[in-house]
């Protein structure tokens, strides 16, 4: 058994209490240990990414209990990709938070950050549906703390709504899991896949109810319309670096959907058929449209980025709803791209807001410090997020359009028209923020350069460029991942389920 598989969960789980108990009053120590932990997590994830690419899926049996009875962690290509992506984004966000001093504006930023990473890594690794719920709760509880980090009236008001919405989601999650258990008698994902595939006809209705309930929960996490209402206020009011980290939180919803509905409920399941894809596609199209309109109509910069995040989730779910090898590879490429791009844009929005002192897009303000540099960063990231050449957003959308060739009447026009709308929204915001400010003769208020913060944003942009330049090898890797997902046999075999008598 490869014990490194559990390291991404154990490491932050040990580090976080250590930070709370041992160094609660020493910000420098917290920073050192927090950064070292996240860096170690990135290195471990990189190692696991390599392991997963040369080996078939590997299972870690917790307490060495055999599969359907104990909890298992499963490392496969998809889990390894998500781990590495999370660790990279987290490291950059942490650098940014340290560089701008965000982590000192309230207590326990670094401890909560590590707990958040523990929840995220656990959710990506677990091979047990109930354990998925537990890790969802871990990452949500940490996110409640991070969201209201720094305090303030608007932030807490948004925090109340965010917590209430997600508690409701957790209740639904439990209903779905209980129904699933009552039908199949198991919660191990591999065992579920075997049991659901050979379900007697009479149980089809119940399993559909369970599947749709779980889909609703993941749609809440993934901010799919009409369950997206928590996102704009939360992301717009959360501290900038936290919002950037939350870029990967919506992807947890997408990941869980991809994992569960390609393994347990693939479209060729007799009991459910293509039900889930058929439900997802229209919702995803509306999500994309709502997100694009939001980008066009947003009155503050953070809300603009939040709606851009919703639009990118719409695009992602459009590709996801296909559940074919080709569309899954496109989904994963776009997932990596949109996590990095959304994270970068939230950081840039925070840079602007900190210098401008005002996030409104309704009126122009005097020029800000380092305006040229920040404007260039905004320009590049907006190009990436809107899906314009030459950055990876363009390639991602191209792959998605290619995978949805047989849906020319609905998917293609929606993606193309909304891309235009998003471009207009971003250009409007950019000219209001950066160009119109030159009308004012005032000199920008001087401000220290914050090299760490800019390094973090540049690193995220560099990752986007690398994703574009290395698109060939990356898509080859993602196609192998998609093939592994579509054929669940290796995943099930790795669990070594006992033979039925």
């Amino acid at each position: 058994m490869n014990h490194w598989i559990i390291a991404p969960v154990i490491l932050p789980a040990l580090l976080a209490p250590l930070i709370v108990l041992g160094m609660r009053n020493d910000l420098v120590l917290q920073r050192v240990f927090g950064l070292a932990g996240t860096l170690a997590l990135l290195l471990i994830s990189g190692g696991l990414l390599y392991t997963a690419s040369v080996n078939p899926p590997e299972v870690y049996f917790l307490g060495n209990w055999p599969a359907p009875f104990g909890i298992v962690l499963v490392l496969d290509r998809l889990a390894a990709i998500m781990l590495t992506l999370t660790a990279f984004l987290a490291l950059m966000v942490q650098l940014y938070a340290i560089g701008t001093g965000w982590d000192g504006r309230g207590k326990h930023f670094h401890a909560l950050f590590q707990f958040q990473l523990m929840g995220l890594c656990g959710a990506f690794l677990t091979g047990d549906a109930f354990n998925l719920f537990v890790f969802f709760e871990v990452l949500l509880i940490a996110s409640y703390g991070l969201m209201i980090h720094g305090g303030g009236r608007d932030r807490l008001r948004a925090g109340v709504q965010y917590v209430a919405y997600n508690l409701l989601g957790s209740t639904l999650f439990l209903f779905g899991l209980a129904t699933l258990y009552s039908v199949t008698g198991t919660l191990n994902m591999a065992d579920l896949a075997v049991k659901v595939a050979s379900l007697p006809e009479g149980d089809a209705a119940l399993i559909r109810v369970a599947g749709v309930l779980l889909l609703l929960v993941f749609a809440i996490k993934g901010a799919l319309v009409p369950l997206h209402f928590w996102l704009p206020a939360t992301y717009a009011n959360a501290p900038g670096p936290v919002a950037a980290l939350f870029a990967v939180m919506t992807k947890v919803g997408a990941y869980a959907t991809l994992r569960l509905y390609s393994l347990v409920f693939p479209p060729d399941t007799p009991a459910t058929g293509a039900l889930f894809g058929d439900l997802l596609l229209p919702a995803a199209l509306v999500t994309l449209a709502v997100g694009a309109l939001g980008v066009l109509g947003a009155v503050t910069l953070p809300r603009l980025v939040a709606f851009a995040a919703i639009a990118s989730m719409g695009t992602l779910f459009i590709a996801l709803s296909g559940f074919t090898a080709e569309s899954t590879a496109a989904t994963l490429y776009y997932l990596i791209h949109s996590t990095l791009a959304t994270g970068a844009l939230f950081l840039i929005a925070d840079l602007v807001q900190a210098r401008r002192g005002d996030s409104s897009l309704r009126h122009a303000c005097p020029p800000i410090a380092q305006q040229g540099l920040i404007a260039a960063l905004f320009f590049a990231t907006a190009i990436a997020l809107a899906g314009m050449p030459p950055l990876s957003g363009f390639l991602g959308k191209l792959l998605i359009l290619d995978a949805t060739r047989d849906n020319l009447t609905t998917v293609w026009p929606t993606i193309l028209v909304t891309s235009l709308v998003i471009i207009i929204g971003f250009s409007r915001a950019g000219s209001q923020l950066f160009w119109k400010s030159h009308a004012s003769p005032a000199d920008p208020a001087p401000r220290a350069a914050e090299p760490l913060a800019f390094t973090a944003v540049f690193a995220l942009l560099a990752a986007l460029v690398a994703l574009t330049l290395l698109a060939g090898p990356v898509t080859a890797y993602l196609q192998a991942t998609a093939a592994e997902l579509m054929d669940g046999a290796a995943y099930v075999a790795a669990n070594r389920l006992p033979e039925l008598p």
């Binding site: 709760e137 209201i148 008001r157 109340v160 409701l168 439990l174 209980a178 919660l187």
Partner: protein, 114 residues
């Protein structure tokens, strides 16, 4: 017995839904509590309702599974209770902090204008 439990879960969840749609944060938190009670009962009943059957096997003797109740939902419900207790406590803290900052217990952070 099934009918009684089903009605109880329905009433708990229905009251919970009504309460979380109310404007005061205290009503919302009570609603969320009621909903988590409802879902806990629901998980519990998913292992089939049995009277007088233990979930723990006795050592040594030959095991007849039909004489025992399913232990898994009981373990699940324990986990769910702990988690919902913790999240509710955390929500309470956020509510109180929000009450302190905004000066009102309305979920929108401000009273509706008359």
């Amino acid at each position: 017995m099934e009918l009684t439990l089903a009605i109880a879960i329905g009433i708990l969840f229905g009251s919970g839904v009504w309460l979380i749609l109310r404007p005061r944060t205290f009503q919302v938190i009570v609603g969320l509590c009621l909903m988590s009670y409802g879902v806990n009962l629901f998980i519990f009943s998913m292992g089939r309702l049995r009277m007088g059957a233990a979930p723990i096997l006795t050592k040594g003797a030959e095991i007849d599974p039909s004489r025992y109740s399913d232990p898994v939902p009981q373990a699940l419900v324990l986990t769910a209770i702990v988690i919902s207790f913790a999240t509710t406590a955390l929500f309470l803290v956020v509510l109180l902090a929000s009450r302190g900052f905004t000066g009102t217990d309305h979920v929108d952070g401000k009273e509706r204008e008359q």
